[in-house]
Each structure stands twice: as C-alpha cells, then as structure tokens.
Subunit: 281 residues, 2 copies
C-alpha cells in the first residue's frame, strides 16, 4: 500500500495507472475511519483494479463556527484499517497543497445544495463539490463510492459528476449502523455515555416514521409530529435542525409519502450535530 | 479524422486513448476557424500524440443581449481546415447534451473573473470555466492550447486548471494578426469594408502605447489618453468599454507600466465588440 502526501505525486501516479489501462476506484474520506468507511472500501475493492482512499479534513466544507479544529483523527489507525480493507493507495494531501493562498476556484451545484443541510450550512456543499472535483482530477477514478448516510451529499455529488461530464461510475453504499441502530459517524466519538444513549433518537424516530408509513399514514405533517415527539422523549435537550420528507432524487418536499420518499433528519444532541435518513418504503 | 457529436462517445474514446498511453492535446473553439485557431492546432500537433479540437458555441458564456444567435458558423469549412492542420478528433457536442434541463453545476474563478471583461460581462467567465471543465473531463487532455488574444480568458482558465488539480499543461499561443495588425477573430466576419477599416483602431492604439512606453512614458493615465485619442481618430463612432494596464498574471492595475504590464482594450466598433491586448515590453 502506498501512502502519498503530495498532489503532484498523486497526479503522476494516477496518470500512469490509467495509462496502463488500470481502473481506479476512489473512496474520499475525512479519516477517523469506521465500519461505514470500510464498507465503501470493500465495495471499491470489488469494482476496480486499484483502490485509492483519500483522507482530508476539508476546511472548505466547515463554517467558522463548526468543528474543524476538534474533528477527530487517527492516521495510524486509519492506515491499518485501509490496508486490511484492501486499499492500494492512500492519498493524504495537506490543506496548503489543496488550498494555496491564491486559490479561488469553486464548484457549485446550485439548487440541490440550497435545501436541507444547505439551508443550515450555506457554504458546506460548495466546499464538498470543490474538493471532490479536485480529488477526481488528481486521482482520475473510474468509479467513486460514497455512503448513503450523507444522502444529500451523495445527490449533490452525483449531480456534479454528471453535470461536469465526468465518466465516473457513482456508487452509493448503504448506511452502516451500530447494533442499536445509530448510524456510524466519526462524530459519534464526541459522545460520552449519556450523549451516546441519546444519539439513538434519530434512528428511533426514523424507524417509528417508517413503521407508521407502512401502516398507511402518509401525511408528512402527521409523521413529523411523531418524529419530533420521539426525539424529544429520547433526547430532551436536543435541538432539531430539520425533519424533511423529500423525493429521493430531486430533494423536493413531498405532499404525500410514498416508496420513493426519504425522511432526513438533522439533530443537535448535546452539541454534536447528527444527521441520518431512511427510505420510507 | 473522427468527428464525434455524442458526449458519451467522446468520453469513451478519450478513456481508451489515455488507457493506451496516448497523450491528448485539446484545442477548444467556437468554430468559424481562422489562422489564429489553426496556430493553436499546429501547436497541439507538435506536443501531443492525439489532437482533439472541439467546436461548441457555448450558450453559457453569452448574455441574453449578446451575439449567440448570429455567431458565424461553417462546419464544413472548419472540418476541412482542422484536417489540414493535423487534427485527429473533432468533438461537436450539442447544447442539449452539454446543458440538459436538469444541469445546475457551475465552476467559477472568483477574483480573476470579476475584472476587465468580467465587469462588462458578469456571467461570461463562469460560462467559460464551466464549459472548459466539462471539455477537460470529457476529452481528458494532457495539454490544452488557448490563444493570447483572449488574454483574460487564458489567465482565468489557467487559474481554474491549477486550482482544480488538473494535470494539464496549459499552453498560451501568441495572437495571430491580419497583415494590417487586426487580431484574427471570428467576429471580424461581421464587418463590411467601412467597419473593417475602423477595426484596426485597437491594434493602432496598442502599438502607439507600446511605442510610447519604449520611449520612456510609463504613466497609465498618460498612455490611456493617447489610446483614446487614436481610437477616436480611427473609429469616430466607436465606444470604448475599457482601457486597462494590468499585471500579466494577477490582472491587477499597475501604477507604473513596466515590461510585465499588459494593455487590454475592449471597443465596440459599429456594434461589433472587439478585444485585443499587447505586452508593453
């Protein structure tokens, strides 16, 4: 497994690999890897000749008030896990290399970036789409794997990938959950035992909503009321950023919930911002 | 020579070529080719295994009041010229293929796009950087050739190319001029004989300024006064959009003209908007 820290070196290596007819599978991450990330690497391993994993805590997708500085990291652990999961290349660029002082080019998906997360975090997706464009250009993947946990991110990036003419197969892998249903996230590391117990509120609320939909209740407002009640009961001090029932592909709110509806939640539990989602099928 | 009109087909071909270890030289154009374009193709021919020329009158870089609809075209003539100049592939996408209804991703170079042309044409460079990003991704060039006539465009695109992590050699070829000095441009086709005679005002003014600089006059305001006088004398009904003395790389105005200063002009001559520039060395 090769660990590469220089953009120029990564550009050269990917050009060489593609020039030899190899296919490259890319898994972009912010490090502090958990089972969710590893499932993405396993998926890429099955689909490509060469698996490249990137570790980069992208400052452009954090706002000044967010957790960039305290974002957890464990490079040695990450490298061990990536090797075990079958990664061939780990690209770990520096912020200075990715965003030098004169940097001033941004990639933006106009509409899909403005709803849900984009309302609460207005510059977030611009940071995501810009860094992923860079990673595409530096690593030259034939396919890329993202997780369904960051569902809107996946939709925004899929749109960007198609719109900008990339010939890259866009794979979305299912959310990996803890035994109790909590979606795996590097941010789960922020919790003490009490917070961890409350963090389950998102999964519990989503499961309740899905059960209601299966029982024939299709009105978003009715479902949202129940979701809010479950969250309040499980995590009394939490703050809900949004509860949204939207169409899977367009992210537009639906009037009636059906099989292609996704429910998305963003909740601050003891000052840790969690998101999760579930298909209401 | 292959003529390709489908984005998907072009994506596949470029992937194949790169996979066989070929280098690709790209020359993006809006068609109606003149000697200026052909010099770019010749340059690419010397530097790459495969030369791809694109013809696409990009609607995203025209504002509603501009000349998109009347922009001249001559596909048969273009194909003949490209073959003669050594092109291997001509990619002629449709607008619908490049900008389908759901398209919503834009690439923007923030600062360099806002000055000079960007002041007069606020969405112009966003259209240029977006389409060139797409052409890069579809055609996978190892090098690209642009003309110095569109000097700010070259600077904006060079910035975009570096910022987004493309491993693409960025070549800027010198402006090709008519015998009397008029910079070659597809828009020169708009002129009747009287307009054509007045169109020389840009070159005449730039040459005068350069002669003055060589004679020791270094103050932009003094040089600009002379430039305006020459333009007024040569093309009395013309309207000057701007006269600018800027640093070559940063496009920032200079207080004193030196060898790295570029003078840029935009002038409307009989309702045809012309731009030109000259290094003051």
């Amino acid at each position: 497994m090769r660990v590469i820290r220089s953009t120029t070196q990564m550009q050269r290596l990917s050009r060489q690999l593609v020039g030899k007819g190899k296919t490259i599978g890319l898994v972009p991450t912010m490090g502090y890897l958990h089972e969710g990330h590893l499932s993405l690497i396993h998926r890429a391993r099955k689909l490509a000749d060469v698996v490249a994993v990137t570790i980069f805590v992208n400052p452009a997708q954090f706002s000044p008030t967010e957790d960039l500085r305290r974002y957890p990291h464990d490079e040695r652990g990450d490298l061990r896990k990536i090797r075990k999961a079958g990664g061939d290349i780990v690209f770990i660029p520096t912020s200075r290399d990715m965003y030098p002082a004169e940097f001033e080019t941004w990639v933006e998906v106009e509409r899909l970036s403005k709803t849900l997360e984009g309302k609460v975090r207005p510059t977030h997706f611009r940071g995501v789409t810009t860094v992923v464009t860079k990673l595409y250009n530096i690593c030259r993947p034939d396919l890329v794997v993202f997780g369904m946990k960051d569902y809107q991110q996946a939709m925004v990036l899929r749109r960007m990938t198609v719109d900008l003419g990339y010939n890259i197969r866009f794979v979305i892998a299912p959310t990996v959950r803890e035994a109790d249903g909590l979606a795996m996230s590097s941010r789960n590391a922020y919790f003490d035992a009490g917070g961890r117990a409350e963090a389950i509120c998102l999964y519990r609320a989503l499961s309740t909503a899905r059960a209601m939909v299966r029982a024939g209740i299709k009105r978003p407002s009715r479902l949202e009321r129940e979701i809010r009640a479950v969250i309040r009961a499980t995590a009394p001090t939490s703050r809900i950023d949004y509860v949204a029932f939207t169409d899977f592909a367009t992210l537009q709110p639906v009037a009636t919930v059906d099989r292609s509806t996704i429910c998305s939640l963003a909740v601050r539990v003891r000052n840790v911002r969690l998101i999760d989602n579930m298909k209401m099928a």
